[in-house]
């Protein structure tokens, strides 16, 4: 079974702290994604990576950065957490080509910023 593992299920941080969310996939997928999910807003793409060290901005990249040093690992970094970044963060991986929309998601990381 494909597995996408997110490092933390629940985090509580203070405003201004630096936050690292890590994601590991075991299917050798080229593509990895970070989404956030908020009630009433649905899933919104933060960043996408299609290869090691390669990344593209999604719809809401402000306040976030990402790192992909190894194919299986994709990290999301909040440089200085703010209360409006309280959300559920979902990592996903998937193949390229025609199946690019067939994503495998992790269990999610629920972040609360106080």
């Amino acid at each position: 079974d494909v597995k996408v593992t997110q490092s933390s299920r629940y985090l509580v941080k203070r405003t201004g702290e630096k936050v690292f969310l890590e994601c590991v996939q075991d299917m050798d997928h080229e593509n990895m994604f970070w989404y956030r999910q908020d009630p009433g807003l649905g899933l919104r793409l933060i960043y996408f990576s299609y290869d090691v060290k390669m990344k593209e901005k999604g719809d809401i990249p402000e306040g976030y950065s990402v790192s992909r040093e190894k194919k299986e690992r994709f990290s999301l970094i909040l440089e200085s957490a703010s209360t409006n970044q309280t959300s559920m963060y979902l990592c996903a991986s998937g193949p390229g080509g025609r199946m690019v929309g067939e994503l495998f998601f992790g269990e999610g990381s629920r972040l609360t910023v106080l």
Binding site: G40, F48, Y50, D59, L90, V100, G101, E102, F105, G108
Partner: protein, 111 residues
């Protein structure tokens, strides 16, 4: 702008009562339409891909269909374990990776 609208927002069914969820979309070209299921507190789980109008896919009690403007997820004789939020997403013609998701339909099946 690409848009995906799912209806209804919430649907409550009795066990065995068949129904359909709707996903209407406006995109510049369509490379694919994808259905996901999401249980509370978990990440979405991929269900189906549809590529062209007229295509159908089935899995257990679920059947997904596609027309040029919308997709339906038909649920036949649902069971309580089918309760979940069902998400629809489209991959527009001009995109290699960026899905546009709908906000989902929360399905509750009562025993």
């Amino acid at each position: 702008e690409d848009q995906v609208t799912q209806s209804p927002e919430a649907l409550r069914l009795q066990e065995g009562e068949s129904s359909s969820l709707n996903c209407s979309y406006t995109v510049s070209g369509l490379r694919g339409l994808f259905w996901y299921r999401q249980d509370p507190g978990k990440g979405p789980e991929f269900l189906f891909t549809l590529y062209s109008a007229g295509e159908e896919k089935e899995k257990e009690r679920l059947k997904a269909t596609l027309t040029k403007k919308e997709s339906f997820l038909h649920i036949t004789a649902p069971k309580p374990e089918d309760s979940a939020t069902y998400l629809c997403a489209v991959l527009p013609g001009g995109s290699n990776y960026k899905l546009t998701f709908g906000k989902g339909t929360l399905l509750t099946v009562n025993p």
